[in-house]
């Protein structure tokens, strides 16, 4: 049997609608009819038809062109055929400009209609096949919930797979929203500890004393309000993994306690005298430069080395733009299901917009943007209009961290440019607007390796 492609025929003349519908049904299509532009738009909101046949002249304030525009707004990829009894060059140009796929004069030869419909359906089948293949391809680039075809990310995922079976501490570095916790979870759930708990703690979210009791637990009466003995996250994670997010924000006293817990694999509850032994794998994460914090004396060097046994650095999304389409389609698939909206695709214009955005909030920002677009989308395809809230101004692209010197900024800029040119100095110098000798001099001064 043929797949049930759906067609909508729109004409105020019932006999025209019904006879064309009957003729198309004989060809195996599921055909609905609408007697006005408004009725057609209402039907289009509920169903994504493969083809719309729309009569140009319709009464009721909404003619064929108005209907075409409204339907194309809901379904940017819709194939619309405008039908008219009296062709004029002007209406034909308007129809095609507004996105009609064809403009035909009735009555037309059955062969013409038959070929036109089968040609459009052939393209739709290819588009559908393409969508299925893209989904299959996306699964190839997937490791748990992490999707990437970027070579650096592939190396990271390979490393994550390799270390998943070990007990060594892992330090994950990356900007906010790059998916540090996802990597931590992937390591945990692909290793031998997968059946044991994965406990995540945000070290930045709690005050020092609260964080201490949160991590190590407390005894009854240890402090005001400690009415019962309570197990800490370390104890709860016994046999599994504890994920210490924002480890760069941990206060000095706790740094010492944490170091002890890591070295001895034991600790005391707050107010307790009993030494608690645990078997916990620690994965820490931060968006800060811990090495710099060590040099500034704000982070214990011994703790740094204890945490930094295996280091994973996740690149920001703007440095792996090839992942944007993969991630965007993955989020569309997942979120449209979660939000109960039948969105399936992202239009080419919308994808171009996503590719050009700088994504300072990284993958999390992309996910939020897709969710927001799905909520406002009225069809099955996300259009550029659905992402109009993405205001990518210069301020967002060039966010300057506090206390950064001009030299540091220059160094970062040179490094980023070299990464983009694959180490090509000539190209990097041209891009930076300086000559090659000046760039060599700066490379030497900043100790930048190509």
């Amino acid at each position: 049997m043929k797949p049930q492609w759906q067609i909508l025929v729109v004409d105020d003349e019932e006999i025209m609608c019904e006879s064309l519908a009957a003729w198309l049904r004989e060809d195996g299509y599921q055909v609905d009819t609408a007697s006005s532009g408004r009725e057609a738009v209402e039907l289009a909101k509920k169903t994504d038809y493969a083809i719309y046949f729309i009569d140009l002249k319709m009464p009721g304030g909404m003619d064929g062109i108005d209907t075409l525009m409204e339907i194309r707004r809901i379904h940017p990829e819709a194939s619309v055929i405008i039908i008219t009894a009296f062709a004029t060059v002007d209406t034909a140009i308007t129809a095609i400009k507004e996105g009609a796929q064809e403009y035909i004069v009735k009555p037309c030869n059955p062969e013409e209609i038959s070929l036109l419909v089968s040609r459009i359906i052939k393209v739709k089948k290819l588009q559908r096949e393409n969508l299925i293949l893209r989904k299959k391809l996306a699964r190839q680039y997937q490791f748990h919930d992490i999707i990437s075809k970027n070579p650096r990310m592939q190396e990271i995922l390979e490393l994550a797979r390799e270390v998943s079976s070990l007990r060594s501490t892992v330090l994950i570095r990356g900007e906010s929203g790059t998916g540090k916790e996802l990597i931590a979870r992937a390591i945990h759930f692909s290793g031998a500890r997968a059946q044991k708990p994965f406990i995540a703690v945000s070290c930045a979210a709690l005050a020092e004393t609260l964080l201490e009791s949160e991590l190590f637990g407390y005894e009854k009466g240890a402090f005001t309000g400690a009415a019962e003995r309570k197990k800490g996250k370390f104890e709860l994670a016994d046999g599994g993994t504890i994920f210490l997010d924002e480890i760069g924000d941990i206060p000095p006293k706790l740094q010492a306690d944490l170091l002890r817990a890591l070295q001895e694999r034991s600790f005391y509850r707050v107010g307790g005298t009993e030494e608690i032994q645990v078997d916990v794998r620690v994965i820490a994460a931060t968006h800060k430069d811990l090495r710099a914090l060590v040099e500034e004396g704000r982070f214990r060097e011994d703790l740094y080395y204890r945490l930094n046994v295996i280091e994973i650095v996740i690149p920001p999304l703007r440095e792996r733009r090839e992942d944007i389409p993969l991630l965007a389609r993955h989020f569309v698939e997942r979120l449209s299901h979660e939000l109960g909206k039948p969105v399936e695709e992202i239009s080419e214009d919308a994808m171009r917009l996503l590719m050009s955005h700088s994504w300072p909030g990284n993958v999390r920002e992309l996910e939020n943007a897709i969710e927001r677009a799905i909520v406002s989308c009225r069809g099955a395809t996300l259009s550029a209009e659905d992402f109009s809230f993405l205001q990518d101004n210069g301020a967002a692209r060039f966010r300057v961290p506090d206390n950064m010197t001009l030299a540091e900024m220059e160094k970062l800029m040179i490094e980023a440019t070299l990464r983009r040119t694959g180490g090509n100095v000539k190209e990097a110098a041209a891009s930076l607007g300086i000559d090659r000798s000046t760039l060599y001099e700066k490379l030497k001064r900043y100790g930048i390796e190509r």
Binding site: K2, E13, I15, M16, E18, S19, L20, A22, W23, R25, E26, D27, G28, I83, K106, P107, C108, N109, P110, E111, I113, S114
Partner: protein, 182 residues
């Protein structure tokens, strides 16, 4: 067994159907489909179905007339006419049937060689008429167009395409009819 009534839709000022056409169609229907064909009295076409500007007859209007006059208790009716048929969207149709429904109509106007300026060829007309009768009756049984080149359910939009296909259902369409899944 489905009983299918066959009748002539006759128009004034239009020559009657060659006498062999309806018996040939009845024979093809009984040979190719699980139906028993019964011949019904002719029915005059309603004058309102004529479009003077196009000089053709409206297939939907003829279908309605057939439905109105179809005897009670008869499952399906296929009307045959010598007049040229159209639907508003298309310049002509060889026939039209309600998909899985009760009534269908076949025109032999464009099945005759004189329509194309050629001498009458009765054996060829009967061959085409048999195929179109089975094709429209196939729609009445719920079959849609088939991509198989020699299946009678393949869509034909030129007389030459009717000549290329056989008058039989392909195995898949035949199975659909047998299983009542069409």
């Amino acid at each position: 067994m489905i009983v299918l009534g066959l009748l002539e839709l006759s128009a004034p000022n239009s020559p009657p159907l060659p006498p062999a056409v309806i018996p040939a169609m009845a024979g093809a229907l009984e040979e190719r489909l699980p139906v028993r064909a019964v011949l019904l009295d002719p029915l005059p076409v309603p004058p309102s179905a004529f479009d003077a500007r196009r000089r053709q007859w409206s297939a939907p209007a003829l279908l309605e007339a057939v439905l109105r006059s179809a005897p009670d208790g008869l499952t399906k009716v296929l009307a045959v006419t010598g007049v040229d048929l159209f639907i508003p969207m298309l310049s002509f149709v060889y026939g039209q049937a309600q998909l899985g429904g009760r009534a269908g109509v076949v025109s032999i106007a464009r099945l005759r060689q004189p329509f194309y300026g050629l001498p009458e060829n009765t054996p060829l007309l009967l061959e085409r008429a048999r195929k179109e009768a089975v094709h429209e009756a196939g729609h009445l049984l719920g079959l849609v167009h088939c991509p198989q080149p020699d299946c009678v359910m393949r869509l034909s939009v030129q007389a030459g395409q009717i000549d290329l296909k056989s008058e039989a259902l392909c195995p898949a369409c035949a199975a659909r009819v047998r299983e009542g899944l069409a």
